[in-house]
Structures are given as structure tokens and as C-alpha cells.
């Protein structure tokens, strides 16, 4: 019997072994062994198997029935460990009783690890020990090391596996070796299980990875793992389903109902394959592909369509497809949406932008305050603002900088601006951005162009009230009088005179992952008579805020990590406060704010999800204790 050829090794270190070693020892390895455990004759990476194959011999076999050994492969530049491995033994009559043939497979990407140093087989322990026991077997490569190409490894290892002692490990290796490598064609339909999977769209989100949007049906639960392979293999080799959001796809359920019967309508997915396939296409032209592995070992491949959308279109595509319930929001953002959307957003803003400046009239050379007003959507607000701001003679001491964040509206804006300047006489400048950047970056561009001692960030739909034409002068006076004051906000009213904003608090919203959202106390109610005009608050809205320009510059303005336009204002306030300065709202500085009415409707769900992205970022930065929680409905940070 083959078993007689070699000692059967115990699954423990009780085996009295001679620790003297004959072969070279890997750096940092244990003390030299007194006797040889075995050698690796050749090895190589075989993509079709999804890992590395090693063949050689060892002085004994693992005792049948014992837990499989924990395998670690040490290379010059790293090691493969804590990963799925398969080991089986085969007879080597040539070795007599000295040893027995061994074949190992380690599932791992084909990383450039350099030359093999050794392979350790250790008794697996449930709990990681502080000082792990020395390996039961340490196999060293024969010298010179034989690192073979894929096809050679496969052909040379086939006979050994065919000859190996029967058992589940051998079956597994046979199955692995029978796999065909990905050849650029889809083989998913050949799988012996009713697995349906399709990728509608891929979006490259470097450096986070690759976002896949599609659907997957696996009614018999046959799938063991879904992986993405790319030109640059990721070290994170987890299944794609670890970073996966299920989404509603009633259209798919409807379409397959004839052949598959009733299926889960939540069969759609948005998944993030980390750090593979970027950039796309890779310099060699190789494209990432999807691998579906069944529990029975078979493998099927699926091509991934090349990414088409980038930037805002890509972000919107992702944001439109998701519809997480309250309890799903946090994991969805942690695993997929947060890293992916942040990567898209950063890539969008990475392109250098040089605004074009057009002056209408001569702004003061040394303005007291620079008022920065981004324009998006409605251009005619400029006409109204200039008409109303021109009424207060004091405004001629300030400069007004409009930032066009809506490039297609350039012609309309310039016509309006020309007319408004001629009619109302108040000078202003316009910065034209050639791409839509969002609220924060648009303001920051305005800030760069600002020359005033103070900076006022103003929304285009905020209008001065005849009750307080000197609103800006009041807010500036507040900052001059109190050096501990960092930021002053206006009291903003709706057109019916009720409060739109008079300071912000934060409250965790149970329906929004429990993340703290800015709240506007007394919103919609008539303003109360306040004892003092200046009231300290947690934060003020960016719709109308005034601060010293040098402070704004030292804080680098709005943090551009926030997309489109929200949370950057409270973030700035919290950063001002973290410098030790205070934020306050000035009740005498009354202005009207024509708050957008239907910002979030079912039609623009993506906009709501963009807000969630910002909330995710804001929460992780300012309320880390809330970030990992699902339902913490307790008020916090109230004054």
C-alpha cells in the first residue's frame, strides 16, 4: 500500500524531528532544522486555477482525518498565507521510505513575489497563538529554483495528481486542473448550475477599483464565489459578494419569469471590485473579467464591458440605481458607495481648472468684503440680486464675484450681466468655470479671486430685505468687534417672513443610517424676539456666511470632498470652531432665502443619495462614534 512508503506525520509538533537543515533558509525563518522535511521540485502560477501550484516531496503525509494543514509560502518579496489551500500526496517509489510526493495549491493572485524561499505546513489552530508553533513541515525549493510557466506547471503536475491518494483534496485538485483559463470568451452558460449573471455597466473608480452594475440569479445557491481578475491583481481576494449592494431589478425578474419562474426582484447589484483592472485598459490591453466559482469547483467566466461613463455621469449612474433602506445605508456606503463615489469625485476635481474672469465695471481695489456667489441653474437671480444690492450705497465698498458653475449657461449669463451692470451700476466680476465643479469648489475659485479683508459666501437665491439693506456691514462689524468670533451667518427668512435659517444643530436621523444631519431650528416659524442680536450657534448655513478671508484661506475654504453642494458649510463651521473660534448667527442681518422647493423628489433620487454620500463623509469626520452605529436616535451637539 502506498501509505507504507512514508511515515504518517502527526498533526502536532510532538513529532521529534531533527532541526538541522541542509538547504538554504529563508530570512527570518526558524532555527536550522536538523533533518530535511522535503523539497519543492517546481512551482508556478496558473491563472486558470486562480492560484499557485507547487510539486515536490515531503518526509511524510498529513494524517488522514486530521484538520488540513495551514500552508504558508514564503517568497523573496512576501508570502502567501491565511488563504485557501489544497494539499494532497502521491506515491514516490523513487524515494523509498524517505518521503512521499506532495502537490499544493494556494489560491492567490499572481503577484510578483520573487523567488520561492520555503513552504510551511503547520497544524491549524482555531485561535491565533501569540507564538505560533513551528511548522510541522518546512519544504524548500531545490536549487536552482524551478519557477515554471503556466502550461508547463500544469502538464508536469497532471500525472502526480492523477496518481495521488484518493480523497476530497485530490478531487478538488483534479477539478482545479481541469479548469480552462479565461480566453476572452464567456463560459458562464456552460456551468452545470442555473446561474444567470450579467453586467450592464462597469465604471472604473481608481484607485478604489471597478464598480460593476448588473444582476445575478442563483436559484440553487450553487455559487461559491464571484471574483474579478484584472491586469493588476488585487491583494484583497475576497469574493465580489463581500462588496455588493443588492438592488431592485423588477425588469429582470419579469424578463426571466418565463424560464425561471418567480425570482427575487432584488437580483440587481452594484458591486465594487477593489483595485483591479485599473487603469482600464491596462498598458498590455488586458481587460478585467469576472470569474464565477461553483461550490462544486467548476468555473465560468464573463467578460466585463469596458467602462463608458466617468465623472458626474458615472456617479449619477451609481446613485440612480441604488435604493437602500435605512438599515442598509451604512453598510452600502462603507463597502461600495463611499469608496467608489469618493474616488469618482476626486478624479473629477483632479483636472486643473483655470477660470476665465470678466469684469463688469470697476470693483474697489481694496474691498472691505468680497462676496462670492456661485451660479447654477437660474441665471436671472443675478439680475434680482444686483437690482436689490445696488440700493444700499454701502455695498459699493465691497466687491461681488459671481462664479458660473453651469458652463452651458455662459451666453445667457453674460447677456444678463451686461444688462444688469448697465442698469444697476453696481460693479461685479464673473468667473467662468469651463466645467461644473459643484458648490464647494466653485466657492473656492471665487475665494482665490477675492481681495477683501472679509469674505462673504452667498447663495444666488438669497436676497437682501428692505428691512436690513446694511446686512453685510452689520456682520462685518460683528467680526471686527469680537476677535473670538470666527464665522457669522445671516438670519434667513422665507418670503412669508418665517425663519429659513438662524443657526444649525445636528441631529441623527434614524431613517438616514442614524447619521447626524444639519437641522434648522424654528424653520417655518415666525422669528422670535431674541435678547441679543448675535447668538452663538454650532454652525451656520453657507447660503450666507461671513468670515475673515485670511481665516478662510488658512482653512483652504470648503473641503472639496463634499459632492455637489451640502455639508461643506457645516464642515467649514466645525473646522472654524476647531481652531477655537466661535460661530454665531446675526439676527439683525435679515435676508430672504428662496430655498429650493423640490430638491429631493423620487425623480432625482440620485441627488438624495449624493447627500447621503456627503453625510457619510461628514459623519466619519465629525461624529466617528455615530458612523458605526445603525440606530442612535439621541440628540447630540445641541447647544
Amino acid at each position: 500500500m502506498a501509505q507504507d512508503l512514508a511515515t504518517t506525520l502527526p498533526p502536532s509538533d510532538a513529532d521529534p524531528v531533527d532541526r538541522r537543515s541542509k538547504g538554504p533558509t529563508a530570512k527570518g525563518a526558524d532555527a536550522p532544522r536538523s533533518r530535511e522535511d522535503g523539497y519543492i521540485d517546481f512551482y508556478g502560477y496558473v491563472p486558470a486555477t486562480g492560484g499557485w501550484l507547487f510539486s515536490g516531496w515531503s518526509r511524510g503525509r498529513w494524517r488522514p482525518g486530521a484538520p488540513p494543514p495551514q500552508v504558508t509560502a514564503h517568497f523573496q518579496h512576501g508570502k502567501l498565507e491565511e488563504t485557501e489551500s489544497t494539499v494532497c500526496w502521491f506515491p514516490r517509489p523513487d524515494l523509498g521510505r524517505r518521503g512521499v510526493g506532495i502537490v499544493l495549491h494556494i489560491r492567490a493572485p499572481g503577484l510578483p513575489l520573487g523567488e520561492l524561499s520555503s513552504i510551511d505546513l503547520a497544524v491549524s489552530s482555531e485561535e491565533p497563538a501569540e507564538n505560533p508553533p513551528p511548522p510541522a513541515l518546512r519544504l524548500q525549493p531545490v536549487r536552482p529554483v524551478v519557477h515554471l510557466r503556466e502550461s508547463d506547471v500544469q502538464s508536469r503536475i497532471q500525472p502526480a495528481v492523477a496518481n495521488a491518494f484518493a480523497g476530497p483534496e485530490r478531487s478538488r485538485l483534479v477539478s482545479l486542473l481541469s479548469r480552462r483559463a479565461y480566453a476572452g470568451i464567456d463560459t458562464l452558460h456552460e456551468l452545470p448550475a442555473p446561474v444567470r449573471l450579467d453586467i450592464d455597466e462597469s465604471i472604473s473608480v481608481p484607485p478604489a477599483g471597478l464598480v460593476l452594475i448588473g444582476w445575478c440569479l442563483d436559484p440553487t445557491h450553487a455559487v461559491a464565489a464571484i471574483r474579478v481578475h484584472g491586469p493588476q491583481e488585487a491583494r484583497d481576494r475576497g469574493s465580489l459578494t463581500d462588496r455588493w449592494i443588492s438592488v431592485e431589478r423588477p425588469d429582470v425578474a419579469e424578463a426571466v419569469s418565463a424560464t425561471m419562474g418567480q425570482v427575487d426582484t432584488r437580483c440587481g447589484f452594484v458591486a465594487l471590485a477593489p483595485a483591479c483592472g485599473v487603469p482600464w485598459p491596462s498598458p498590455g490591453g488586458a481587460a478585467p473579467y469576472l470569474e464565477v466559482e461553483l461550490k462544486t469547483g467548476e468555473i465560468g467566466y464573463l467578460r466585463i464591458p469596458p467602462p463608458v461613463k466617468t465623472g458626474a455621469a458615472a456617479a449619477r449612474r451609481i446613485l440612480e440605481v441604488i435604493h437602500p433602506s435605512a438599515d442598509e445605508i451604512a453598510p452600502a456606503f462603507d463597502k461600495v458607495l463611499g469608496p467608489a463615489l469618493t474616488a469618482i469625485h476626486k478624479a473629477r476635481l483632479a483636472k486643473p481648472v483655470k477660470p476665465t474672469e470678466i469684469a463688469f465695471g470697476e470693483s474697489p481695489a481694496e474691498p472691505v468684503c468680497s462676496v462670492v456667489i456661485p451660479l447654477y441653474g437660474r441665471m436671472d437671480f443675478l439680475t434680482y440680486q444686483m437690482a436689490l444690492l445696488s440700493e444700499h450705497p454701502g455695498n459699493s465698498a465691497h466687491e461681488f464675484i459671481y462664479v458660473l458653475d453651469d458652463p452651458p449657461k455662459k451666453r445667457e449669463l453674460l447677456d444678463l450681466a451686461h444688462s444688469a451692470h448697465r442698469r444697476f451700476g453696481l460693479p461685479f466680476r464673473i468667473l467662468l468655470l469651463d466645467t461644473n465643479l459643484g458648490y464647494g469648489p466653485a466657492n473656492n475659485h471665487g475665494m482665490v479671486a477675492a481681495r477683501g479683508e472679509f469674505l462673504c459666501l452667498l447663495n444666488s437665491d438669497v436676497m437682501p430685505s428692505p428691512n436690513a439693506p446694511e446686512w453685510l456691514d452689520i456682520m462685518i462689524a460683528d467680526l471686527r468687534e469680537d476677535a473670538t468670533l470666527g464665522m457669522v451667518g445671516g438670519q434667513l427668512l422665507f418670503e412669508d417672513g418665517t425663519v429659513q435659517h438662524q443657526g444649525i444643530t445636528f441631529e441623527p436621523l434614524a431613517q438616514q443610517a442614524g447619521w447626524p444631519f444639519p437641522m434648522h431650528p424654528r424653520k417655518g416659524l415666525k422669528p422670535e424676539r431674541t435678547a441679543q442680536a448675535l447668538e452663538e450657534v454650532m454652525a451656520v448655513t453657507g447660503a450666507c456666511m461671513v468670515l475673515r478671508r485670511d481665516l478662510a484661506s488658512s482653512l483652504k475654504g470648503f473641503d472639496e470632498v463634499y459632492a455637489i453642494g451640502d455639508f461643506e458649510d457645516t464642515d467649514l463651521c466645525l473646522r472654524v470652531r476647531s481652531t477655537g473660534l466661535r460661530c454665531a448667527v446675526e439676527h439683525r442681518a435679515q435676508l430672504y432665502h428662496l430655498e429650493r422647493q423640490s430638491q429631493i423628489t423620487p425623480d432625482n433620487r440620485w441627488r438624495h443619495h449624493a447627500t447621503l454620500l456627503n453625510a457619510w463623509t461628514h459623519t466619519r469626520r465629525w461624529f466617528p462614534e455615530e458612523a458605526g452605529r445603525s440606530h442612535p436616535p439621541r440628540p447630540l451637539l445641541r447647544r
Binding site: L388, E391, N467, P469
Partner: protein
Amino acid sequence: MVSEAPVRLLMIAHLHPAVSKGGAEIAAYQLYNSLRSSPEVEASWFLAASGGRIAPRLGARLSQPFGPDEYVYAGAGFDHFTHSNPDPEWPGEFSRLLEQLRPTVVHFHHYTNLGLDTLLTIRRVLPAARIVVTLHEYLGICNHFGQMVKRPSLALCDRASPRDCNRCFPEKSEQDFFLRELFIKRFFRLVDAFVSPSQFLADRYIAWGIDPARMTVIENGLPAPQTPTGAVALRSSGRPLSIGFFGQISRLKGIDVLFDAAALLEEAGFEGVEIDVHGDHSGQPPEFRALFEARLQTAAKIIHVHGPYENSKVHDLMLGVDAVIVPSIWWENSPLVIQEALLARRPVICSDIGGMSEKVRNGLDGFHFRAGNARSLATLLSQLATEPARLLNLASTLAQPRSLTETSAETLALYRSLPVDPDVGGLMRNTPAEQDLQPA
């Protein structure tokens, strides 16, 4: 301090009466000519917008087709929502004209086509000039042609608000209406004096936010008639009562109420009234024209439609009827036709609302019926036909209409009353009080 210096007047109208026969431009031009003849007026000019009816000179905004003291402005793109004029060339060109003419009073008789923003140009170029605005309709308050009737029902409207206005014009948001109000009031704050031809209209503007101290009621005056004024008299006894309708034939002028009342009278077999309709419907929207023309086919026999007339003939035409009817279903301001009727010594039968009920005292100058109510009108007409003495008895109480000379004198007195900052001797003045107006 009240100004003693001679007046240099620039009168402004939205159209020139040489090419447009509307009441406002005629009133403006008559007043201009009357003031021009006053020894207290040192110099005077008339500026009207072309309204697309006078071809501009290429590249120029101003032209003088009507004489050395009359100017026509040709600009396009007027914004009727905010009554503003986005023409970027106008402020500069108008500034040069103002610097050349240096008026001490600029009187807008209507701001359409020129734009409310033109008021700011005046204030910037001539800070000391007094700005007077005569109000026409409820244009500042109401986006529905300033009529203050709902759209599309034409129900009477008492007060504008962003919410209510948005219901009439769903295509404009509440915020748009709020901006409109902020915008209009910002320029209204530049006005030294508003002139309203009726107390009713003045009250509507005061309720909307105009400072009452800056509001003056001056009725539009009429030039003396060419033909002698008739006495209040029925044409001859035994004949049916003759009622005359004069003016634009439109829904708001109440033509349907009149036709409905006639139909009711005919149904009742009442033959004591004849109704003569003088006026034009050719300028109305096509839908109305079609409806009206269809209506003519089935109209009661007591209605006689005579078609358009020359305004110079209105006096004679009115002498041919026993009473004049003004059945408007909107508030009106101070309808010219009432003045004309009083000048012809004809009692007026009118709707009991707004400027009509103010100008026609019930039982003294004529009689009221419930606005928009054909049955009320039919009842009134049948009663008057049965008791013609009720009309005859008005001879002693019928008001005399305001003459152009009186209006002109009142207007001049208003100019004189406007305070001039003594520190700058009438050349400069402080910016006008800015806190008077507050959005509702």
C-alpha cells in the same frame, strides 16, 4: 422746502398717441400739452416708447419723428413680469438725454416699455430730479395685465400674494412672484410721488405697501367738448329707453353681462329697452372674437352692434342715447368712458365695484348693478325703462367731470409740493426714504 424754481418737465408715456389711441397715452399727451402751456413750466419734453410701431434708426435708440421736443425710444425685450427693460444700451443713451435736457421733474404716465429700472437711471444721473409716476391699472401688483382678476376664471381678486399669484400663473413659482414684488418695490422706492386717478386704485397700492404720504389722487381731466353739451333728457317719450355701450368689446369690459341681460329681457318679453353697442373687438384674442361673432348671430333683438367709432365722435354718439352703460367685470381704475358720459350729461349705469362705483355715485350720477350679474342688470334696466323719471331726476346731481385745466393745475401743484433738499439747492438730494416700503 417747496420748490419755487421753474419746472423743467420730461413727460414719459409707454406709447405715442400718434401711433396708438389708448387712454393712457392720450391722457399723458393731453396733460403734457396742457402743462407745456403753463408759464410755470420753463421747458417740457415728451418721451414715448415706440412699442414697435415706429421704425427705429439703425443703431440708435432715440428718434424724433414728431418734433423738436418729442422723443421716441425704440427698444425690444421688455420684461412684462417685472416691468423692467433689459436693453443694455438704454441706460447710457437715456443718461445722455437726461444730461442734455436736465429736467427737474420726470413724470412717468406708464412705465411699460421704458421699464422701472429707468427710474434708477434718472436717480443716478439727476439725483435732484423729482420722479412722479401715474399709476395705470394694478400693473405693479398684478401680473394678469394689472387687472386683479383671477386667471382663467376672471373672478375678482382682492390682494396679490406669491401663493395666490402662482395659482393664476402656475408657470411662475411663488418665489418668482416674491422676487417680482421685491424688484418692483425696489424701484418704486425711487418715486417721489405717485398719482392715482381714483381713490380705489390708490387704496389698493397703499394696501400693497406704497407709502400713503407719497400717494396723490388726481383725476384725468378731459378737454372741453367741441359740440354743446346736451341736457339729461330722454330722446322722446313713448320710445324704448336707449342704453349705449362705448369702448373695447371684451370679456373684462363685461360684454357678456350686457348680452345676457338683453337675453333675459327678451325672454321676459320686455321691449322697453334698446341697447346700442359702439366699439371694436378686432384687437381681442381670436378665441374671444370667434365666440363674440357666434354670439352676434343669436343676440337679442334689442341689441344693436354698430362697430368701431372715432374717439372724436364719442360725444355726439353719447348724446344719442339716454344713458351710458359700463358693465366691466374687473375693478377698473377711472374709466374714460365715465368722464365722457358725464361731459355729455348722460347718467351712467355701471358695475358696483372698484373705480366705477367710486366715480359713479349710485343714485346721483347713475345707478349700480351687481358686477357680473346679468339678472341684476336686467332688473335695473327694466325698472329704469318703466320709471324713466329716475334717470331724469339725476340732472340736478350729475357730477361735472374734471377738466384738463384742473388736472393740469393739480399736477403742477403736486410738482411744486415735492420737497427739495435745501442743502443742495434743488440740484442734489438724498436718496429717497428706503424704509417706507416693506414686502407684505
